[in-house]
Point group: C2
Chain length 336, copies 2
């Protein structure tokens, strides 16, 4: 399918459009066929945290997940950018204990929880954050888990040459069909490598996660298990009030979505065998959320009752500090 204009997203205030965004979106099937693209599907983007479900494949494929008896809640956290709420932190803490480690083994750095209530609760109790509160601590614990299972030195697991990152890169390369040698590499917010992928290739990887197309039976099963875990525990994937949690809860996990920094989003649709990847050109998350829903609706991938359930997310009302409605975020007029 030929290229078209990116999706546009508008932020209004009163009668005028105050800000505008453009979002490149591509939807691909398991065979790699582009179903629809808006904008440039070939541009290289850092998938950031939106690729966590693919990064988690080695956790299952090495046998580590079963050896340590991981729950589906823990599998969801392996693919999460969590908000540092108490349930996230306690689950990661217990999991780390089971693999014989603690927060000092995590090399992701620390920050206060992104959930403001969680941060204020910690401050009220006189606590300070550690790496457990980092939104990526589930993914890092997942990485430590396969390092332990394979009896590798966990120290330095964030390095591009460590077995952990080599397995993760191999899974990304296999799923997306990208030759990982020589593509641009950046350092992610949590210190692991992030590989710039053509948006179409990223979407293809997601479609293969969703469909199992061209994957070994074991890998297809691992992908299915991870997507199911995320859909079953949307509260573990992001956090209270955040898009992925709210969206997946509203549609009962039938579609798996995962956002990343700088306006990247991923969606895997097992029922349709489709993957969708998108990137807002300016890096804003608010544009990515609206564009994802708009793409799903345009491609008729949501059921009528799901369209109703996610309506507040599709066109959110903006309110001021007094709760007055002052504008909205909405799909923009098509750009040609």
């Amino acid at each position: 399918m030929s290229a078209s204009a990116p999706l546009s997203v508008e932020v209004t205030r009163g009668a005028i459009v105050e800000s505008r965004h453009l979002v490149h979106v591509v939807a691909v099937d398991g065979g790699g066929r582009i179903i629809r693209q808006w904008g440039d599907g070939e541009q290289a983007v850092f998938p950031r945290s939106a690729i966590k479900m693919i990064q988690a494949l080695p956790l299952i494929e090495t046998g580590a997940a079963d050896a340590y008896g991981l729950t589906s809640m823990e599998l969801a956290l392996a693919c999460a950018s969590h908000s540092g709420e108490p349930k996230h932190v306690s689950t990661v803490t217990a999991w780390l204990e089971r693999i014989g480690l603690d927060h000092t083994a995590l090399e992701c750095g620390s920050h206060w929880p992104t959930n403001e209530e969680a941060t204020r609760g910690m401050a009220a109790r006189g606590e300070t954050p550690c790496a457990l509160h980092n939104n990526c601590s589930g993914k890092h614990t997942s990485m430590l888990t396969h390092a332990r299972h394979l009896k590798e030195d966990p120290k330095g697991y964030i390095g591009i040459g460590h077995g952990v990152q080599r397995r993760v890169a191999a899974a990304i390369g296999d799923l997306t069909g990208v030759n990982m040698a020589g593509i641009p590499v950046g350092i992610d917010g949590c210190a692991i490598p992030t590989f710039a992928l053509p948006l179409r290739a990223f979407a293809h990887g997601l479609a293969r996660m969703a469909s199992g197309s061209g994957l070994s039976a074991d890998r297809a099963e691992a992908a299915k298990r991870l997507l199911a875990a995320m859909g079953t525990h949307p509260d573990m994937v992001a956090g209270t009030g955040r898009f992925d949690t709210t969206f997946m809860a509203a549609i009962k996990g039938r579609i798996t979505t995962k956002g990343g920094a700088e306006g990247v989003w991923a969606a895997a649709l097992p029922d349709h065998g489709i993957g969708i990847a998108l990137k807002s050109t300016d890096g804003t998350g608010r544009a990515g959320e609206i564009a994802l829903i708009e793409a799903l609706k345009t491609l008729d991938l949501l059921r009528p009752e799901e369209v109703d359930a996610i309506a507040p997310l599709a066109r959110p009302t903006l309110r001021n500090r007094n709760g007055m409605a002052v504008g909205e975020i909405r799909p923009g007029a098509p750009a040609f």
Copy 2:
């Protein structure tokens, strides 16, 4: 001068540009002559909090500031979007007391301080926020001050028909040369009206604040006093670590800058009699900051030692949670 392309701003990670922004910028002199514009100077934008120095003119012109013996620190707070740090809150509290009111008179709504340390400190002390912590509480106290001075009912001072907002709108109309009847009106985050102005007209208003051009002696003096107050107390205008505070402190207040929501920025340059207004198309503040400095540098409005002093702001390094440099924000290649 004819139109040209907007300024571009790039966010890099490793070797690639991860996100891009476009910023419309216009620089105008006191007579309304466009010195330079990037992008569309005629588009109507909500100036949001970037126009607070103009909104504060009635505080002085009604005689209220002198009647209540306001300090230059309080005048700076009248023009501020403060971070809710203890010094901001205590200064507003004492000012409100002097006019015989307290926080219950503020109609701006409340939110936790934007300064995270201030928020955690409050949580640790078991405190909750009130309207004093709203970033606009200084402006609202300023509005209440002229209402009190003129013996108006302070109740409902945020309404477009109240004397307070009529004086504010008249000042904006006079300074910018815009006929305020019939232009688009929105509701700002703090519940007062915000009027959509052509970017060029907004810049002209700022140039007249800076130059006094075409203003009565009293108004020119009031404008001078407000700009001087902001330049003298940059810590009151925004807060620890924020752009306006850091920038004005670095250049010793010689240029007054003020950011607003959705990527709007204002600069008034008394030494040159110039005003600059800008709007990032996507509403991101990070783009506005870089574009403002790039415009000032391109127009040769910064002294060599000032260019050095603000270098960290002109091209900030992005660091991950471990403090590793992962990218930067920088002026982009010119778009034609």
